[in-house]
């Protein structure tokens, strides 16, 4: 008999309402059906939409969107089964569920795996999943799917065939796998606590959801009382709660909290509006509980959003401040470079201007002292020596300033030639001997003959003068000894003094510009902190190196300079 003829004859006199909008009709006798179907369907659609809006496209996001959409479709199709009166539509829609249900389970297992392991499954596994889908695909249109339409009563139900038992078996297997896999992973101590918590939450959400879902469908199928299945969808709020918590707490699926808040707010309004549907009298308590649940979730989310906004605003202000500070620093840096350049130029000019007169002062003081302009009275001897010494120190300082100026402007030139390093050392010792003698210091020299090196003789002399002069300046009593030796390819000069010594923490910075050892001022007030810096620069410019050794404050020091031997 043609099904339409059968309905027309209305043998059972079923009072079926027509469902012009597919989902809305009085045929839906059970009050919880709308609640249990519309809320999860819309929740799924909204979540899929929120995840889809994210710019980043991760496999987990794709899988989640697919899962949410497939589940929403399932809910809407199932609702059609409750609402529709046409047997052909019911048969078609019911048989279509055989494709969607396994897809939901497989997508969930796939999602859990990728989320946990953070890589895709192998192609073999994908192919295996494809194979599990083949029975529904091949047998879907046959009587193995739906055997018949049951018109022995007015419930508008199809009679499920053996294919559904295969499906239920598959669902139970996948759910069990998810439970075992999720539990095992969340107890794996080699993973971080955060990851374990995330996997644990996702597993709880999925398990709760699928146990309720499978249980509802299987019991409905076995008992033919499909009103039981409506409770199976109540696992959805738990799943939803777990997913939203994951998103907010762990930034899973990279969704902004604001988006999720909008989602929860929309769901809350939706649930609230369902309260006013006429057909749901007995479902009101359940809806009220769900409203409270979503209310709490909403409160938690709003707080998170507030925090997020505050942090973003603070970050924005900090960024602006940082940019402005950066610009100021850049400006200051440029200005400083200009000033540094100007300083070097000024130093160079001023030093040149000072060098000529101080040379004249030195020269004439020496000439007078030596009696070239007549006999020098005894009482003038000491003042003349003081003038000579002061002029010598000043000339040295001017030479240091000039050298620094040349080094910093990159104008220092080295005119290298072969000369006897030992001879040069002897000359410098000889020149500085009167100063040591005046301080009652023993200046000894252990210098062999003929230590040839290739370097700029003027610069090397400056180095030796600075080092020996320095040793004399910072030694109040005792001795200063100078030793020259040839070691393989280097000529080494060691100046050992019994002076103030250097604390270990100061050794590293002694050759820096304007740096002096602590307490150096007490021994020598005229030091500028440039002598050692210049000596180091000049020694390195000649291919050599310079360093200092000391056993500590008050224990003397050893300055060593090495230059490449010929």
């Amino acid at each position: 008999m043609n099904p339409f003829d059968l309905i027309a004859s209305d043998a059972l006199q079923c009072k079926w309402d027509t469902a012009p909008f597919l989902f809305i009709s009085d045929n839906v006798f059970s009050p919880l059906i709308y609640y249990s179907h519309i809320v999860p369907a819309l929740a799924g659609l909204f979540l899929a939409f929120v995840v889809w809006r994210q710019k980043e496209r991760f496999l987990t996001n794709h899988l989640f969107i697919f899962l949410a959409l497939a589940f929403s479709l399932w809910c809407l199709l199932d609702l059609m089964l409750w609402a529709h009166e046409n047997p052909s539509v019911i048969m078609f829609v019911w048989s279509s569920l055989i494709y969607i249900e396994p897809a939901i389970y497989l997508a969930a297992a796939y999602l859990l795996y990728v989320f946990t392991v953070e890589r895709d499954i192998s192609f073999k596994t994908k192919f295996f999943m494809f194979l599990t889908m083949l029975p529904p695909i091949i047998l879907g249109p046959t009587h193995y799917n739906l055997t018949a339409f049951d018109y022995t009563n007015c419930d508008r139900e199809a009679v499920e065939g053996p294919l559904w038992y295969y499906l239920y078996f598959l669902e139970v297997c996948i759910t069990l796998w998810m439970v075992v896999f999720g539990l095992r992973t969340s107890m794996n101590k080699s993973l971080s606590t955060s990851k374990r918590t995330q996997v644990g939450l996702l597993t709880i959400g999925l398990t709760f959801f699928f146990l309720a879902f499978s249980w509802g469908n299987i019991v409905g199928s076995l008992s033919a009382d499909w009103s039981v299945a409506q409770y199976g969808l109540f696992g959805m709020p738990v799943f939803l709660g777990a997913i939203i918590y994951l998103i907010v707490r762990f930034q899973t699926f990279r969704i902004r909290v604001l988006g999720v808040t909008a989602l929860v707010g929309t769901l809350w309004i939706l649930l609230f509006s369902i309260l006013f549907l006429q057909t749901i009298d007995s479902a009101r308590p359940v809806i009220v509980i769900t409203l409270v649940f979503f209310g709490l979730l909403g409160f938690f989310l709003v707080r998170s959003v507030q925090k997020e906004i505050q942090t973003a605003e603070r970050l924005k202000i900090l960024t602006v401040d940082l940019e402005s500070a950066n610009a100021q620093l850049e400006g200051a840096n440029t200005k400083l470079k200009e000033l540094d350049q100007m300083k070097s130029e000024f130093l160079s000019i001023a030093s040149h201007q000072l060098r000529a007169p101080i040379t004249a002062v030195r020269g004439y003081a020496a000439n007078i002292n030596e009696g070239e302009y007549g006999k020098v009275p005894k009482n003038l001897k000491e003042p003349l020596e003081t003038v000579q010494e002061a002029a010598r120190l000043m000339a040295n300082s001017i030479e240091d300033y000039l050298n620094i100026s040349r080094i910093e402007q990159g104008r220092m030139k080295y005119e290298k030639s072969d000369f006897d390093f030992a001879d040069l050392a002897k000359k410098v010792v000889h020149e500085l001997a009167p100063i040591a003698e005046k301080k009652k210091l023993k200046l000894s020299a252990n210098i062999p003959e003929d230590v040839m090196i290739t370097a700029d003789v003027g610069k090397v002399k400056q180095v030796l003068t600075n080092l020996i002069d320095n040793a004399i300046k910072y030694t109040t009593a005792g001795s200063v000894s100078v030793m020259v030796e040839k070691k393989e390819n280097v000529a080494r000069l060691t100046i050992t003094d019994t002076g103030v010594g250097i604390a270990p923490e100061e050794i590293g910075m002694l050759f820096e510009k304007f740096k002096r050892a602590r307490g150096a001022n007490k021994v020598n007030t005229t030091g500028t902190g440039l002598g050692l810096y210049v000596a180091k620069q000049l020694a390195e410019g000649n291919g050599g190196k310079i360093w200092v050794e000391s056993d500590g404050t008050g224990k003397g020091s050893r300055f060593i300079v090495e230059l490449p031997a010929k």
Binding site: F92, R119, S223
Partner: protein, 54 residues
């Protein structure tokens, strides 16, 4: 994070194609041909109606 490779894409397309064909056949069978058995006699299907015996 993994991206979709070519083999997976082909497998997915084949799966969707198969499902599409299967759904189309089902649609044609039920919605166009109305080709399905209808149980009208409770004796015909005694295992049914456990919950709603009326």
């Amino acid at each position: 994070m993994a991206t979709v490779d070519k083999k997976t894409l082909i497998l997915g397309i084949v799966l969707l194609l198969f499902i599409g064909i299967s759904v189309s056949v089902t649609f044609y069978r039920y919605m166009v041909l109305h080709d399905y058995v209808i149980f009208t006699d409770p004796e015909e299907a005694p295992e049914l109606n456990i919950a709603n015996p009326e």
